[in-house]
Subunit: 145 residues, 2 copies
DNA sequence: CTAGGTGCTAGACCCAGGTCTAGGTCAACA
DNA sequence: TGTTGACCTAGACCTGGGTCTAGCACCTAG
């Protein structure tokens, strides 16, 4: 049986990470359990490893730095007893994500506005530039320049 | 002291960028109009510059790379006639933001789940580890978080 | 007059997060 | 039996986005 073990290449396919990156993550201690090796020293990833890595991918995508993932991994590696710490880490990231969400929404609103005004502008073959410094008639009376 | 012009330090305060970064952005062509200089070569930012920079900050916060901001700035600098291109850039970023939003929401869901299970775990003084490979010799028939 | 604060440029430095290379091992297949 | 392809380690390299330094120019206050 394949014993539910995947090679690094397969894991790369599965997670979207490159094999280089997978090895990097391991070196940096991002894995919550040591990866098994086969008879000739090749990595054999368990289903659980893959689940963990999949979470790592999400964490990364939501802006968690490698060092933080590493801290979390360490806590998990060390086994139960530190759940409160893990929870703290998770809560921090939760907050961070929520902040990002509001920022993104703000920016999206800005962009939506711009897009709408450009669309309108183009549809109308209008002349004014929706995003341009007004060709100020006379800037300031006493401006040297 | 022209009330319609701010120094680089003031702009830094206002935008949250460092003066270094402001100069960097200028060097990299991120500004949509050339910054004026006073008699002794110091930058004098107009209200419009600041508005633009504020938008840049949002763009950055939503993951737009400096090079893209630079492209947009260039289009705006070149004046009207290229609105369609600007719109394209904006639409791309709009899409990008929307993707990020869904990713973030996914990750938030994951984290929310973990947080909830840790909270429950801690509240119950439970023994099982909500996020640990089951230390069971036999492969788990049914993996759950 | 002198000092402090702010600004200027050019360019070095830094960190995160990958990505790629060199040189080697292994197993399978034609 | 030799070639291929996936894998191994160690370590160099690259990009993006800042951040900091050196050395100098102004202005204003004391």
């Amino acid at each position: 049986m394949a014993d539910s073990g995947l090679s690094i290449g397969q894991v790369a396919q599965h997670t979207g990470l490159s094999v280089h990156t997978l090895r990097l993550y391991e070196r940096e201690g991002l894995l919550a359990s040591e990866v098994r090796r086969d008879g000739s020293g090749r990595r054999v990833y368990s289903a659980w490893d893959i689940e963990w890595l999949t979470n790592c991918v999400r964490f990364r995508a939501s802006g968690m730095p490698l060092t933080t993932i590493g801290r979390l991994a360490k806590l998990v590696r060390e086994g139960s007893g530190n759940e409160a710490e893990r929870l703290k880490l998770l809560r921090e990231h939760q907050r961070h994500i929520i902040e990002q969400l509001t920022q993104l929404r703000d920016c999206l609103a800005l962009i939506d506005g711009k897009v709408a005004s450009y669309e309108q502008h183009l549809a109308a073959g209008a002349s004014g530039d929706p995003w341009q410094q007004q060709p100020q008639p006379a800037p300031a009376p006493d401006e040297r320049d």
